[in-house]
């Protein structure tokens, strides 16, 4: 499959009065056509900043790296050219649909606006298409909804409208930043279902940013785990869940209580310490202060990003140690 988006060694830094905050610190990810890539991480891991940088919407400064989208380097494009890509070829949906919809325009108006600017639709054609799109995202009575205002809709409905707007111009990449976090589980199930269907139908690539491992398991083909501004592990979704290599991923998976296991766990596994505040991290592996396997080298030197199995990458000093052991054993025998 062809690569649609290639982010290479991206570094997005924030400069504030308290110093430099490396929010994204050397992130490389690729998304293939028609693929859903999940970025998992906790607050401050840099997952949202990575996505916003790809849209050139971050207030931070890109210090290094390149973002290649369909053969164009997004970081060097003119603002005008970028505006054409935004909304048309790359669309984004956010966690809180209410803040991304304009409260003083009707739903129909807002969808039609996107169609008029990007697709040069006439007014009547745009309105017709708006109704079609609302129907596509499963909104009942779309002819009536187009005339309503955002506050008249429920959270789930608003998120559907956001998806309809995002899909309006048939983008090749949809960036979804915690799209279901503000929604209830039964509504979340509906929205995830909808996104899956749309992806299948239109072969859209999706960049799914979330902290919910359940959402990842359900929707993604491949997963990147981020911690402290770096990708620490990346693999196919089955590998990540069945055979996690990085201690952080392992800890994260162990610390969520299971809904289906019938056996009783008395105590949950938990990763000690606190989620690091961006900008307070210094040298070495960022996870080292909380890692139960941390060695001396972990605190001082950044581990390399290593392919531990085909298509499975992990950034941990343990892999080097394991390699050495294998080597030693081979030498002995």
């Amino acid at each position: 499959m062809e690569n649609l988006l290639e982010i290479k060694n991206l570094k997005t830094y924030f400069y504030s009065e308290n110093g430099v905050v490396p929010a994204v610190d050397g992130v490389s990810i690729t998304i293939k056509k028609g693929e859903t890539l999940g970025i998992v991480g906790e607050s401050g891991s840099g997952k949202s900043v990575t996505a916003l940088t790809a849209m050139r919407l971050t207030p931070g400064k890109v210090v290094e790296g390149s973002i290649n989208f369909n053969g164009k380097d997004l970081l060097t494009l003119s603002d005008e050219a970028m505006r054409k890509i935004r909304g048309k070829e790359i669309a984004m949906i956010f966690q809180e649909p209410m803040t991304s919809l304009n409260p003083v325009f009707t739903i129909g108006n807002q969808i039609a606006e996107a169609l008029k600017t990007h697709m040069n639709f006439t007014k009547t054609k745009a309105n017709e298409r708006a109704i079609e799109l609302l129907e596509l995202v499963g909104i009942p009575r779309p002819e009536r909804i187009v005339k309503e205002y955002p506050h008249q809709l429920s959270g789930g409905m608003r998120q559907r409208v956001m998806i309809a707007m995002a899909m309006a111009c048939n983008p090749s990449l949809l960036i979804a930043d915690e799209p279901t976090t503000a929604l209830d589980v039964t509504i979340q199930a509906q929205i995830l279902d909808l996104m899956r269907d749309l992806k299948k139908e239109h072969n859209t690539s999706i960049l799914m940013i979330t902290h919910d491992l359940g959402v990842v398991a359900e929707t993604c083909d491949r997963v990147c785990v981020m911690y402290g501004g770096k990708v620490v592990e990346e693999s196919d979704v089955h590998e990540i869940f069945n055979n996690p290599k990085h201690p952080y991923t392992q800890g994260l998976l162990k610390s969520i209580p299971s809904l289906i296991d019938s056996e009783e766990e008395t105590r949950l596994y938990s990763i000690e310490g606190n989620v690091p505040i961006p900008g307070t991290l210094r040298g070495g592996c960022h996870f080292a202060p909380r890692c139960e396997f941390a060695m001396n080298i972990c605190h001082t030197e950044v581990p390399s990003y290593k392919e531990v199995a085909t298509g499975h990458f992990s950034r941990c000093w343990l892999h080097e140690v394991e390699d050495e052991e294998v080597q030693n054993e081979a030498n002995i025998s």
């Binding site: 906790e42 949950l268 505040i277």
Partner: protein
């Protein structure tokens, strides 16, 4: 026989608002509409449900933070509803609350020590030296250090702030704690720390919890019994293990099946609910779940199902009557 600590009888909380400035017509939002259940000593009872189902209001109505419209809340046999302020203040020592938002629940202008000592100050317990000692003790209990007492809330992370909130709730040695979504604002890796803390404290201090949450996997881990709420009513209440293994009410079934599992290899049959939760100001007639229910019968549209007991499980559904 288990000892009942809190008994809730026909608890109702309505919010009324005038439809318009001029008209006399009043509309009621039935946030909590006739709850009956008991909380046993030493157990964790969880209230689960989606936003707007009235689970948080229930917690606050039990603690009399929002006085109930109707019904009784018996704490060790004493009815708290309508109790005068002076007596209520005494009862407050027995029951405390842990809040959802670790950022909003601590006064930013006070130091952590002052925050934790506040309950002691309100109830005039101990000299200032004893208070300081108690604060140190509490900080230690929740896994923080005594030097944290001099700092301000903004210097702490979400998980640490939640620990501070728990320390404050523990200051008066309560018997009963209402925890309103105490882990949902926290990062995944921090959630399990706090869940473990809740469990450790329960064991050490013999606490009883009413655990309000929308996160079913956390609920399954922490509770002894679970009550599922929908539109101001409990639709199903039962032992945790049985309820999760064999949900009976169609809503419970749908809710459980909707949770995305962190396991890409498990494929489950998902019951997809149609539409949204109706507005609690205008709930559907009959069973309030009937417009979204796949097993809806004619009777469901007109007659409200009773909340009845079946082999230790309470359920409000016509299918089982």
């Amino acid at each position: 026989m288990k000892q009942t600590l809190v008994e809730i009888k026909n608890l109702k909380k309505y919010y009324s608002s005038k439809k318009s400035v001029l008209s006399r017509a009043v509309s009621h939002v039935k946030a909590v509409d006739g709850l009956n259940f008991s909380i046993f000593k030493g157990e964790t009872l969880s209230l689960v449900g989606e936003s707007g189902c009235g689970k948080s209001t229930t917690g606050r109505a039990i603690l009399q933070l929002q006085p109930p419209t109707e019904g009784e809340v018996l704490f060790e046999g004493e009815n708290l509803v309508g109790m005068n302020t002076g007596r209520m203040k005494k009862y407050r020592r027995n029951m405390q609350m842990v809040f959802q938002d670790p950022y909003a629940s601590l006064d930013p202008r006070l130091t952590v020590g002052e925050i934790i000592a506040e309950p002691l100050k309100i109830h005039k317990i101990g000299s200032s030296k004893e208070k300081n000692q108690r604060v140190e003790e509490l900080l230690d209990t929740v896994g923080l250090n005594s030097y944290h007492a001099k700092r301000y809330p903004h210097e702490f992370s979400g998980g640490q702030r939640q620990r501070i909130g728990i320390a404050r709730a523990l200051a008066l040695n309560p018997k009963f704690i209402v925890a309103d979504e105490p882990v949902s604002a926290l990062d995944v890796s921090i959630q399990s720390q706090i869940v473990n803390l809740f469990q450790d404290l329960q064991e050490r201090l013999d606490l009883t919890y009413l655990f309000i949450s929308h996160d079913l996997s956390v609920v399954k881990h922490i509770s002894d019994r679970v009550a599922v709420m929908y539109l101001g009513k409990i639709v199903e209440l039962g032992d945790k293990k049985e309820l999760f293994q064999n949900p009976m009410h169609p809503y419970t079934k749908a809710l459980l099946s909707a949770v995305p599992l962190p396991n890409p290899d498990v494929k489950r049959e998902r019951i997809m609910l149609k539409g949204d939760v109706p507005s609690p100001s205008n709930p559907p007639a009959g069973c309030s779940f009937h417009p979204r229910c796949s097993a809806c019968m004619d009777i469901c549209k007109t007659v409200k199902p009773e909340f009845t007991e079946m082999e230790g499980r309470f359920i409000a559904c016509h299918l089982y009557q």
